[in-house]
């Protein structure tokens, strides 16, 4: 008598496969296989006892609270039209604010640079500007990092649909330019340099195909890893976040 294989027993346990009736018949007749199946059942039953930590009573509300800023700020027809743009919209608004601040600072400096000002009044706009810039750049680096991570972590040897990453990279390119120029203008060479390195990678993703074959995925991965851009972005992001925290109570920092 041929005994049942472990694979047949596993399929039978999960109710998969075609030969359930034959397996049952065999189990009824064969003590060895019955013992083997009983052992499998015990092991798999014990696996059920793996604990899952309980979430707090208001877990669902907590999840929603964290999601809420990113979800559905527009309604009806506008939401349908702008669905793919909902995410970038927030960042475009931030970029526009930064652009306005930069332009404002430029024109203020141009026309009022010689006017006497009290130190407090003089430092206030700079402080606010710095905070906004840091928040915006930190956010930008974080989103860039996410795009790069998704590509770097793609399953090797398989094609990859990058339509979403491509779209996001396209949005990030325009922001990246703005922040790079601002960083250079405000004398923050380190951030400017990282953004400078990031830009061609974002461009490559944004202008690449929506679906990559395994070779293209590998090439892109090597490009990202080879340049160490992910590491640079991560370090710059964490530095910017740190400065952002420090900028809240402190005034008078001049660079980005």
């Amino acid at each position: 008598m041929n005994h049942l294989t472990e694979e047949e027993l596993v399929l039978y346990y999960y109710g998969e496969g075609d030969g359930a009736a034959a397996v049952r018949e065999h189990l009824d007749a064969c003590e060895t296989c019955r013992a083997g199946y009983a052992c499998l059942q015990r092991v798999l039953n014990v696996v059920d006892s793996a604990p899952v930590p309980e979430r707090p009573a208001h877990y669902e509300a907590q999840v929603w609270r964290r999601l809420r800023p990113s979800v559905g700020r527009q309604g009806g027809a506008w939401a349908r039209l702008s669905w793919p743009l909902l995410w970038p919209a927030r960042h475009w608004a931030m970029a526009a604010a930064v652009a306005a601040l930069v332009a404002g600072a430029f024109w203020t400096g141009r026309y009022y640079s010689n006017a006497p000002r009290s130190p407090q009044l003089a430092s206030a706009p700079g402080q606010v500007r710095e905070r906004i810039l840091l928040v915006a750049v930190g956010d930008h680096l974080e989103r860039s990092q996410m795009v790069l991570l998704e590509l770097v972590n793609a399953r090797p040897g398989e094609p990859l649909d990058v339509a979403s990453e491509r779209e996001r990279a396209g949005d990030l390119v325009a922001e990246n330019r703005l922040y790079r120029q601002t960083a250079a203008r405000t004398g923050d060479a380190r951030v400017a340099s990282v953004l400078d390195d990031l830009e061609p990678v974002l461009l490559e993703i944004a202008h690449g195909p929506g679906r990559l074959n395994p070779e293209e995925v590998e090439k892109l991965r090597r490009r990202i890893e080879g340049d160490g851009i992910l590491f640079k972005v991560r370090v710059a992001g964490s530095t910017v976040r740190h400065r952002e925290e420090q900028a809240a109570p402190n005034a008078g920092r001049k660079s980005l």
Partner: protein
């Protein structure tokens, strides 16, 4: 009357964030369970839940209304979990258990195991199972979790993970084999 998933999806697509909230509140706890079983880490599982809903929201237009929204979410969550596990591995930060630096639960199994009721009471069985699950490869663990805990059929698992059903099936076989090797001494001594 409770809003069905399909009605909530239709309203969320039309821009009703309240309808999306219904979906979030309905599915987040189950998604956490799936994500925790796949990642073995609470904070990672919380991140997966968050990322799953964000991806779902961004791709809501692509959701086929004839399918089950829950299954679709599970697919996204399974892929988010895999992404996270891979990212962790790449960074060499993979958690080997609930506590960093804790000894391998399988290795630390005492020679004379206490009776099963005491084991269950002390959570020892759970820790051993968690340790055994951590020994599985990403694909084995994912396929096994989807089959064993979530009751997905092999074909569905293949679709979720983007592999052939046969490959999903063999991942499950290998996972069961490894779990048997790790846990059989425990169940033998308990029986």
């Amino acid at each position: 009357m409770e809003m069905s998933d399909s009605v909530a999806v239709a309203q969320a697509r039309a821009g009703d964030s309240g309808a999306f909230r219904v979906l979030v509140e309905r599915h987040s706890r189950n998604l956490f369970r799936l994500a925790y079983r796949m990642t073995g880490h609470q904070e990672d599982a919380d991140d997966v839940v968050q990322e799953t809903f964000l991806r779902a929201y961004r791709q809501l237009e692509k959701f086929d209304e004839r399918a089950s929204f829950g299954t679709w979410l599970y697919r996204i969550a399974a892929n988010c979990s895999l992404d996270l596990i891979r990212a962790r591995k790449r960074r060499g930060e993979r958690q080997e258990g609930a506590e960093e630096g804790a000894p391998d639960p399988i290795q630390s199994l005492p020679d004379a195991a206490p009776p099963p009721d005491r084991l269950a009471m002390s959570g020892e069985v759970g820790r051993k199972v968690a340790g055994a699950l951590n020994e599985l490869s990403d694909m084995e663990r994912t396929a096994f979790v989807l089959r064993h805990y979530e009751g997905m059929c092999i074909e569905e698992i293949g679709r979720t993970l983007g592999v052939q059903p046969n490959s999903a099936k063999h991942s499950i076989f290998r996972a069961v084999q490894k779990l048997r090797r790790a846990l059989e001494p425990l169940v033998s001594s308990a029986s």
